[in-house]
């Protein structure tokens, strides 16, 4: 911008504010800007496109053709197969099993983790007690510890509680590991609510839970949505915990997907694989495209330092 302005300057010098109107800037600089953006957009967008077109082709077409070419003959056969017939080891009932497992993991994890995190954030911002900041600090540091460090002790804890290998156990693990980021999110949000509102409610005789449910909750719906978005994508996309704490019957979708695609047996059916991959990615992608700005806000909240 600055460059093109200085280039226009000499013409204006001679006769004061006269001369030709400055041209709309379609300069080399602008071509560079749009060109670079276009190339990067291709890099990010093409894989999704490839996934979609591959999943709609038949295997013969894939074997002879070009992965970027649109399907000559659209078929939904791979999708059906991925959903209901694809094999992992002995099971051949498709990804649907993993999908429903993931749903059964996701819903209780979501409710529990958002409930716990919102109460944590509320207690940490408005009802501090001795040591509350210390626990919060540990939580924040905990978010950076590689999960592998805590994996085996959790196996022991779950085994002791009789929950190892069950969905309940996995749900609890998701709640625990979703706690740092979501607690931070809620704490920062509640801390931004004017302190006087809290004081007024106390003068009005409202206690811990009354203030939470009657004053704070109705004010914080957007942040609940942000937290839900973080948790849906996080839990749905989890692989490590699902693979470590459940067995083949209860594997979440990501684990099952990996087992289907990377299985060494049989002929590779790339169209079915891509349909399965797309199916697995569909839930977070939908959340992403529907939520738009709130997703970005969730990310930004995650990036804010504690």
């Amino acid at each position: 911008m600055a460059n093109s302005d200085t280039m226009a300057a000499p013409a204006a010098l001679a006769a004061g504010p006269r001369g030709p109107k400055p041209k709309r800037r379609m300069t080399r600089g602008n071509i560079m800007v749009y060109g670079t953006l276009f190339i990067f957009a291709l890099y990010y967008a093409l894989p999704l496109y490839v996934m979609v077109v591959t999943s709609l082709k038949g295997m013969p077409e894939i074997r002879m053709g070009n992965i970027f070419a649109p399907p000559m003959e659209v078929t939904f056969e791979p999708w059906v197969k991925a959903w209901s017939q694809a094999c992992t080891g002995i099971n051949c009932d498709g990804l649907s099993r993993g999908f429903w497992n993931s749903v059964r993991i996701l819903i209780p994890s979501l409710i529990l983790s958002v409930a716990v995190a919102s109460v944590n954030g509320y207690a940490l911002s408005m009802w501090k007690f001795k040591g509350s900041e210390v626990f919060f600090g540990i939580l924040m540091i905990g978010a950076f510890i590689p999960y592998q460090v805590m994996l085996y002790p959790i196996v022991i804890l779950l085994r002791e509680a009789g929950l190892y290998g069950s969905l309940t156990g996995l749900v609890l693990v998701h709640v625990a590991f979703g706690m740092p980021i979501n607690t931070l999110l809620f704490r920062n949000y509640f801390a931004s609510i004017p302190e006087e509102l809290f004081k007024a409610a106390r003068v009005d005789g409202a206690g811990f839970w009354a203030i939470f449910f009657k004053i704070m909750l109705p004010m914080s719906l957007p942040i609940f949505v942000v937290s839900l978005i973080i948790q849906v994508t996080g839990i749905w996309n989890d692989f490590l915990f699902g693979a470590s704490f459940t067995g083949p019957d209860l594997y979440p979708m990501t684990v099952q997907l990996n087992n289907i695609v990377n299985s060494v047996q049989g002929v590779k059916e790339y169209n079915v694989n891509m349909a399965a991959t797309l199916l697995t990615g569909l839930v977070p992608l939908t959340i992403y495209f529907v939520s738009g700005k709130l997703f970005v806000r969730g990310i930004a909240a995650g990036a804010v330092k504690g």
């Binding site: 911008m1 600055a2 200085t6 800007v33 670079t36 953006l37 990067f40 957009a41 990010y44 093409l46 894989p47 999704l48 996934m51 070009n66 992965i67 716990v116 109460v119 944590n120 509320y122 009802w127 501090k128 001795k130 509350s132 626990f135 540990i138 939580l139 905990g142 950076f144 510890i145 590689p146 592998q148 460090v149 805590m150 085996y152 002790p153 804890l157 709640v175 811990f208 996309n237 692989f239 490590l240 990501t254 684990v255 997907l257 990996n258 695609v261 990377n262 790339y270 694989n273 891509m274 991959t277 990615g281 977070p284 992403y288 738009g292 970005v296 990310i299 930004a300 990036a303 330092k305």
Partner: protein, 308 residues
């Protein structure tokens, strides 16, 4: 500020009612899940693993002390050394490229381009996808017989070779392409937020002073965005150490050992190899590397503030 900091009964004055101890009780009870998670899972789990990394645990954890034996074995294991080397290559490239691409894209989008919203949506959507999905997509695109390589060859460029996933010296870069695809959008988003946070007047001042656009970015804007860069660095860094799912999905650690990473070593030792002690020692080393990343950052961020 603490609105209702409850004081311990111990330091209470004589006029204090005995019920002081139960003041703020609801808050303390409500925080129990957090206290449990922080103390038992995060602190307890970490300490447990560190302690057991000094034992000869095999199939089951046993408190049979072996000193630093596990660490000695770890650092003598070729697989571990390869893992470290792989992660170093991936890490350095990922760090630099993520920052450069993330900032470049953010700066370009910040130039008031048309279609900013659409472009941002395109740049960021991979971040919503899991590493498993990411790995599988790129495994397919990089498929030598049917993917990118064959397309270019089909266009008449017969000698074209691009098969990183089956080439042990290139496989980490194959992973890098997928990792960058998934993660740069996040950094772009953070950088863009940082750029938007900069006062418009800075740009006006730079223009009045006749400083060119690129120079303004390098001399003025980037130094102002130091906290944003630091945050990005920490995010990228801690993500790199955790690198696991992507490798599992895209290469399964192959060909041979050439895309092994530390997290994978840990998982194999703990759940596959019945070699718990090795797993604990290796995961403790992962923790050490995170500490090395985090401590300077924490000192920079929080140490300075307290003094100032």
């Amino acid at each position: 500020m603490a609105l209702s900091e409850a004081t311990d009964a111990g330091q209470a004055g004589p006029t204090k009612k005995p019920t002081r101890l139960f003041k703020n009780m609801a808050s303390k009870i409500a925080a129990l899940p957090m206290v449990f998670t922080a103390l038992v899972i995060f602190v307890g789990g970490t300490v447990w693993t560190i302690v057991y990394s000094f034992t000869g645990s095999g199939l089951l954890p046993r408190l049979k002390w072996v000193g630093l034996d596990q660490y000695e074995r770890l650092w003598n294991s070729r697989k571990w050394l390869v893992s470290i080397e792989n992660l170093a290559i991936y890490g350095i490239c990922s760090l630099i490229l993520t920052l450069v691409i993330g900032f470049t894209l953010a700066a370009l989008l910040d130039r008031k381009v048309r279609g900013e919203g659409a472009l941002r949506t395109i740049f960021l959507y991979p971040f919503a996808l899991s590493f498993i999905v990411t790995g599988l997509i790129w495994q397919w695109i990089l498929n030598p017989d049917l993917g990118l390589q064959s397309v270019v060859r089909g266009m008449g460029w017969e000698a074209f070779t691009f098969d990183p996933l089956n080439n042990s010296s290139l496989v980490m870069f194959g992973l890098l392409i997928a990792g960058l695809w998934q993660g740069t959008g996040l950094i772009m988003c953070i950088m863009l937020a940082g750029l938007r946070g900069i006062d418009e007047d800075i740009w006006k001042a730079a223009r009045v002073d006749g400083i060119g656009t690129v120079k303004t970015y390098i001399r003025v804007i980037i130094p102002m965005m130091r906290p944003v860069f630091v945050t990005s660095l920490v995010l990228i860094g801690s993500g790199i150490v955790k690198l696991y799912d992507l490798v599992v999905a895209q290469t399964s650690g192959g060909p041979g050992l050439s895309s092994q990473v530390p997290a994978m070593y840990v998982m194999t030792a703990m759940f596959g190899g019945q070699n718990l002690g090795q797993g604990f020692a290796a995961s403790t080393m992962m923790l050490v590397s995170v500490v090395i990343i985090l401590v300077p950052w924490a000192i920079l961020e929080f140490g300075g503030k307290k003094r100032g």
